[in-house]
């Protein structure tokens, strides 16, 4: 065990690290500048439990209606040994669909290392060699990625399709595409998650000496069309997401650098006293933005901590306020109650003018 690993182990309080999945890895690409998040995720701390323990539980519940519908749609698309799936994917990629495809379900209930070994073996053996190979579909392959120095297994939630000489990641999602348009936020989330799979699949092939380019950066997204259950396939180019993801994973691989800025007695041990935990967390720098509320389990704690800071109002507000950090500074400069430092002079003049104009328009003394 390296010193970093020992350190991370100590931060967690000796419990095993929480397992990542494509969703949690995809979430890492948001707010890359946040040290608190990078350290906690790198250590594999159970952030939902941590947030609950310190009194700021996350609100990421999922409705069982949504889960049921998602599962039903996935089962429908994959029915019949993937015949419909193959037709959709082939049509979208513009290749002549084969009559049938090899369908391999890698999702049997073996233990993880065994499943991973089997996935690797079969996928490497099936590496595309040319366009004349028959189509092959691999359901639930268990992939892995290096996250913060640890190999992380990815919960299987995709189909890898070998078609026309390349592997394509196929994601089945149950949000609708209506008249060719889907909810942009959901598409963006799906693209980032797919990028995680593309990256893992590429690493797997590269490790076996194959060209990682055999895995296409074009992901096939399958969604219900309009208001019915009929599936429709679309292509997503995930090159941008791959870049962001790689950058963040590289950053986490250099966790040692980050840990250097963290107090040596920092702990996120769930067994510790909530007040101790909160105090420890507040000594690791966070970069709260309102967008965190949608992606990070600790967001409510950080938001509470960021009260009175302009960042809590959103980046556009903070920028419009000349980048000043706190609301108190803004108000003091606007009222003229504080003399600005030279580097604040410009922002202060603008705020003074703004305050005067507001007061004039509202008919109150400035």
């Amino acid at each position: 065990m390296t010193s970093s690993e020992q350190r991370l182990d100590a931060i967690r309080g000796g419990v095993p690290p929480r397992r990542h999945n494509a969703r949690t890895i995809a979430a890492l690409t948001g707010n890359p500048g946040c040290v608190r998040r990078a350290v906690l995720d790198g250590a594999g701390v159970d952030k939902p439990k941590l947030a609950e323990r310190i009194g700021f539980p996350a609100r990421f519940g999922q409705s069982r209606f949504a889960i049921t519908r998602g599962n039903a749609f996935e089962a429908q698309v994959k029915a019949d040994g993937g015949a419909e799936l193959l037709r959709l994917v082939a049509e979208r990629l513009g290749v002549e669909p084969d009559e049938r495809a090899d369908w391999t379900d890698l999702g049997a209930d073996d233990d993880l290392p065994e499943r991973h070994a089997r996935s690797r073996e079969l996928l490497v053996a099936a590496a595309p060699t040319g366009a004349d190979q028959p189509a092959a579909l691999f359901d639930h392959p268990l992939l892995s990625l290096e996250v913060a120095g640890r190999r992380v297994h990815l919960e299987p939630d995709l189909v890898a399709a070998r078609l026309a000489g390349r592997f394509h990641v196929v994601e089945i999602k149950s949000f609708p595409v209506i008249d060719g348009q889907a909810d942009p936020a959901k598409v963006a989330a799906a693209a980032t998650q797919s990028a995680v799979y593309v990256l893992a699949l590429r690493e797997l092939l590269a490790a076996a000496g194959h060209d990682p380019g055999l895995v296409s950066h074009e992901v096939v997204l399958i969604c219900p069309r309009d208001f019915a259950n009929r599936p429709v396939a679309s292509l997503l180019d995930v090159r941008k997401q791959l870049l962001v993801l790689r950058r963040q994973l590289d950053r986490m691989a250099r966790l040692d650098d980050l840990l250097a800025s963290v107090p040596s007695d920092f702990t996120a041990d769930l067994a510790a006293d909530p007040a101790t935990l909160a105090a420890a967390l507040s000594r690791v720098e966070a970069r709260y933005a309102p967008e965190c509320l949608a992606s990070c389990e600790l967001a409510y704690f950080c938001r509470h901590e960021a009260r009175g800071h302009t960042a809590a109002l959103g980046r556009p507000v903070r920028e419009a306020l000349g980048g000043l950090a706190t609301v108190a500074e803004v108000v003091a400069l606007a009222d003229g109650a504080r003399t600005p430092d030279p580097e604040e002079a410009e922002a202060a003049a603008l705020l003074r003018a703004a305050a005067r104009l507001r007061a004039e328009a509202l008919g109150v003394p400035a």
Partner: protein, 515 residues
């Protein structure tokens, strides 16, 4: 975000309560708006679950879909909603007024009022747009017949959703948008989308700060979300068992009635708090005096309402799934013009909005120190009245000599900057006036600013923006796909072109089913 609005947000944090960012109301408010609070079933493509709808706080009608995945029940919901929406729409078609057109050579008619729908948030608008999309192509005959009111409802909902995209229109408003147009809270824009928290900031209960009220409003147990998405805990622990109980009671009328009553009361409890908030929001907005140009923009809504009603009466078809090339260009042009004119009109109506432009140097306020109202320019072919005034301002003047300025006090008059002299923190601006003074060589009293008048001059112009010229659809240039082909041929063309959805005929597929 302008610095002025950002400062208002900072002040809201410091004061613990939302701060005004408008001194007048910039949206039209109907005497009896139709408030509509929809709920959708999670995971489905816009499947209605329930709605509370009505035109007065004590006239709430609750619509419930006991089995939201059942297609027939969904269309029954649409028919029930049509029973409320269509009579409300029709009630505005009784009285028309004559509007002169073509410089008074002709008249056209428009209804003196138009319907107005209010939903809690932008997601509510999306819900109505998709409900309109899923119903307007339905048919009362054929394989999956629906009640004849369903496609008509779909066309009206689509009309409202289209208006909601039009800047400055008030036919369909999201309450959170309308409120944040007038108040700045001490929370972020994302958090402002939550109506209970937003109203917590604007109108906190006595004895609490806005921040406290907003924090309390984030507990979905006590403050249900304003829809259309429901709280997952509510779904899992209360709604799912109630829907299951209803489904299981299929053969037993008594048990079924009881299960329905349970479901109804559950959904009423989820909707009623938002219903109350909607009317509180209406009350807050109504307390603001309307801006001077709000009525004119509402006339635009009435024009659009009249045109759509006439289109429907004349047997016109439902709105297409997607605009053709020419229609899309025309729509974009219309929206851009509306956006420009809406921004200008709000600034003209509201000194607090104009202040944002003064801060960026697009406008300034000063006092008239010299005026020569009788000045005549006789350098041209014939003499013309060109009075000059000098305005002195302490505000930064960023406009160059030669620029044309306008004043909200005399919107029809142009003022050309002829001379700028900054000195001791003040700027003397000499302006040459034209227009708005009659045709003679003497300016009528009041048409030229007098010495001592305090005036705002700005680069923003409320002048009529001429509409662009577009070709007829059958003359669509080849760069934009060429003239549209007849419906059948188009479907074939789209499929071969690899069109994203592989669209069938544009009038929609009547057999298309909800999940």
């Amino acid at each position: 975000m302008s610095t002025l609005r950002a400062l208002a947000k900072a002040q809201a944090v410091a004061a613990g309560v939302a701060q005004p960012v408008a001194t007048v109301r910039h949206v039209h408010l109907h005497e009896r708006p139709l408030v509509l609070v929809p709920l959708a079933l999670a995971g489905e493509a816009n499947a209605p679950l329930a709605a509370m709808v009505g035109t007065a706080p004590d006239e709430a009608r609750l619509l419930v879909v006991p089995q939201p995945r059942n297609r027939d029940q969904r269309f029954r919901f649409a028919a029930e909603l049509a029973e409320v929406v269509l009579p409300y729409v029709d009630a505005h078609r009784e009285v028309s007024e004559a509007v002169p057109v073509d410089r008074g050579r002709d008249v056209r008619y428009r209804y003196v009022d138009a319907p107005q729908v209010l939903v809690p948030n932008p997601a509510g608008i999306t819900f109505l747009r998709l409900l309109g999309r899923s119903t307007r192509f339905r048919r009362p005959d054929g394989e999956h017949p629906v009640h004849p009111s369903v496609p008509l409802l779909g066309r009206w909902l689509t009309f409202f959703a289209d208006r909601a995209e039009h800047p400055g229109a008030s036919a369909l408003l999201a309450m959170t948008d309308a409120l944040t147009l007038h108040w700045a809270t001490g929370q972020s824009a994302v958090e402002d989308l939550h109506l209970p928290a937003l109203l917590g900031w604007i109108d906190p209960p006595p004895g609490t700060t806005g921040a406290e009220a907003a924090a309390r409003a984030e507990d979905p147990g006590t403050h249900p979300p304003a829809g259309p998405a429901t709280d997952p805990d509510f779904d899992n622990h209360r709604l799912a068992p109630a829907i299951a109980a209803y489904a299981e009671a299929e053969d037993d009328p008594d048990a079924r009635a009881e299960a329905y009553a349970t479901l109804e009361s559950l959904l009423r409890d989820q909707l009623a708090p938002t219903w109350e908030l909607m009317w509180r929001g209406v009350g807050l907005l109504r307390a603001l005096p309307p801006g001077a140009r709000v009525e004119g923009r509402w006339a635009g809504d009435r024009d659009a309402f009249t045109a759509h009603a006439e289109h429907v009466d004349a047997g016109g078809g439902p709105q297409p799934r997607r605009d053709g090339a020419v229609a899309a260009a025309v729509r974009l042009h219309r929206l851009e013009r509306a956006l420009t004119s809406y921004a200008v009109q709000r600034a003209y109506d509201d000194p607090l909005v104009m202040a944002e432009h003064r801060l960026t140097g697009e406008a300034f306020v000063g006092e008239v120190t010299l005026a020569d109202p009788a000045r005549v320019d006789d350098s041209g072919k014939r003499p013309v009245l060109r009075p000059r005034i000098q305005v002195v301002t302490t505000e930064p003047v960023l406009v160059p000599v030669g620029a044309t300025l306008y004043s909200p006090a005399r919107p029809g008059q142009k003022a050309r900057v002829v001379f700028l002299h900054p000195a001791d923190g003040k700027t003397e601006v000499v302006l040459e006036l034209s227009g708005g003074m009659g045709r003679g060589l003497t300016a009528p009293p009041g048409s030229v600013p007098e010495v001592g008048e305090r005036l705002c001059y700005t680069t923003l112009s409320d002048a009529y923006l001429p509409a662009g010229a577009f070709p007829a659809p059958e003359e669509t240039p080849w760069t934009h796909g060429g003239p549209p082909v007849p419906a059948g041929a188009e479907a074939a063309g789209a499929a071969t072109a690899g069109d994203a959805a592989g669209d069938p005929a544009p009038d929609g597929d009547p057999a298309e089913e909800w999940a």
